[in-house]
Amino acid sequence: MIQYLTNNHVIVWQALQEHLYLALLPILFGFAIALPLGYLAVRFTWLYHPLINTFGVLYSIPSLALFVFLPVILGTKVLSPVNVVVALTIYTVALLARTVADGLRAVDPVVVQAATAMGYRRTRRLVDVELPIALPVILAGLRVATVSNISLVSVGSLIGIGGLGQLFTRGFQLFYLEPILIGVILSVVLAGIADLIIVLVQRAVTPWTRAA
């Protein structure tokens, strides 16, 4: 395995970088979209179920199919990373919109009332009170989304898109364990690191959750 790495470090390194960027970009976009969507689902309660169900169905579309279709729908190039980014963004939104909504809904209504009674206007209340209190739930969802994105990107290799999945197919075509193993390990390590970072951020920004 070491030997494979020394011979191919350029390819592996490139795959790792591509993987990272293909996985994390959708997290950023997805988070940015899910926040307002989740909020709307709480603000307008009738929106909650349609929204959750729609994304539930989107979530159940196999990633491979989504990767293939997006060029047709979006008019992007077949090998464009945009396809993967958009597909994973959809999954991220599906996961996060729900957690954002659930997190906001779980905020103690008494606390929200207290804030209202103190003269908070809606937007400021959302930013100052509701979002911070929902943060532990939202970040837990973010962890799930990040980790699953990192493992999902590799499916893109079935249609020739870069990332660590390239190591899987490469090894698989030669019936050769090393690249697959390296790919799996790197993918898991990457997910672990990303997860750890979120946990650390969470600890830093939600000190009150540790006050029992």
């Binding site: 606390v111 009674a117 943060l135």
Partner: protein, 325 residues
């Protein structure tokens, strides 16, 4: 002064929570709203700071209709304390208290400094300032809730069962502190409770509501005990009304006999009695003493603890009779 002018609140479901309420809560006084569960106490309170909109009628604060005022600004000028405190779990105690001043544009630093003083005022030392609400006991949380409502020094405070989440001992403690605080601050306070004892103890005035959101009686605690408006109020006020109304009567004027036939120690303090009273006590204390003491008498002591007078059950009966006529 807060004025309810013919206020009605019917909730969308069709429940009439408040039914043609006319009420004046005097400036600088504590008015307690009391009544059975669901009688519209909370609803009435929340119409004052526009958390609930009346179906009809008007609410005036110092003559100005609240519905004409900017919602957020109105609320910032009214302190609101709710059951279980409703503290922000994600902010330290200090930042909870500093919330409204910061909203009003004070710098965080100035607001925190002021908050520290307020915490002390409600009996919480500086060591609590950096804690989160989850690290406080129920009683401590209530104190923070009160401090938070006081932070912007609002002329008006609304308090919805502020002491109900804590056990009876802590509760009594909070009530006493609260009265002391109000003596200093002289806010206009509207407080909700469903505990008639609390109402009588804290209220300058008591508004008793009946189910269906109608006002049954508005009176001072003393009037309420002495002359309940009807059977509903009488039964709500409960037993021992006579004895409890004596709480408002000082024993200062009660004539006493010379001390005689009582064992005293060297400094003149009485020995072997279940209790004694002073001029500052109420007639309620004296009554209980004459009933429970073995000799049917109550001994009065001076500031130094030495017995300076004696009252028999008959003396008390005479005094009460003389006060009536």
């Amino acid at each position: 002064m807060i004025t309810f002018e013919d206020v009605v609140k019917v909730y969308p479901g069709g429940t009439t929570a408040v039914d043609h309420l006319n009420l004046e809560l005097p400036t600088g006084k504590i008015t307690v709203l009391v009544g059975p569960s669901g009688c519209g106490k909370t609803t009435s309170l929340r119409m004052i700071n526009r958390m609930v909109t009346p179906t009809s009628g008007r609410i005036l604060v110092d003559g100005a209709d609240v519905s004409q005022q900017n919602e957020a600004r109105l609320r910032r000028s009214i302190g609101y304390v709710i059951q279980h405190a409703g503290l922000f779990p994600h902010r330290t105690v200090l930042d909870n208290v500093a919330t409204v001043p910061v909203l009003l544009g004070q710098t965080r630093r100035a607001a925190r400094e002021a908050a520290l003083g307020l915490l002390e005022r409600v009996g919480l030392s500086a060591e609590f300032a950096k804690r989160y609400p989850a690290q406080l006991s129920g009683g401590q949380q209530q104190r923070v809730g009160v401090a938070r409502a006081l932070a912007a020094d609002p002329p008006i405070m609304l308090m919805d069962e502020p002491f109900s989440a804590v056990d009876p001992v802590v509760r009594a403690q909070l009530q006493a502190e609260f009265l002391r605080l109000q003596q200093d601050l002289g806010k206009t306070i509207a407080m909700v409770t469903h505990d008639i004892d609390e109402a009588i103890k804290l209220g300058d005035h008591v508004a008793v509501f009946r189910t269906g959101g109608r006002l049954a009686q508005f009176a001072t605690p003393r009037e309420l005990l002495a002359e309940p408006a009807d059977d509903f109020v009488a039964s709500f006020v409960g037993r021992d009304r006579g004895l409890r109304s004596l709480s408002f009567d000082s024993a200062a004027e009660l004539p006493v006999r010379p001390v005689d036939g009582i064992d005293l120690d060297d400094s003149g303090r009485p020995l072997g009695l279940p209790g004694v009273f002073t001029k500052d006590d109420s007639l309620r204390v004296v009554t209980d003493l004459v009933i429970s003491s073995p000799g049917g008498i109550a001994v009065r002591v001076g500031p130094d603890g030495a017995a300076d007078g004696l009252v028999s059950h008959h003396d008390l009966a005479d005094y009460l009779a003389s006060r009536r006529s």
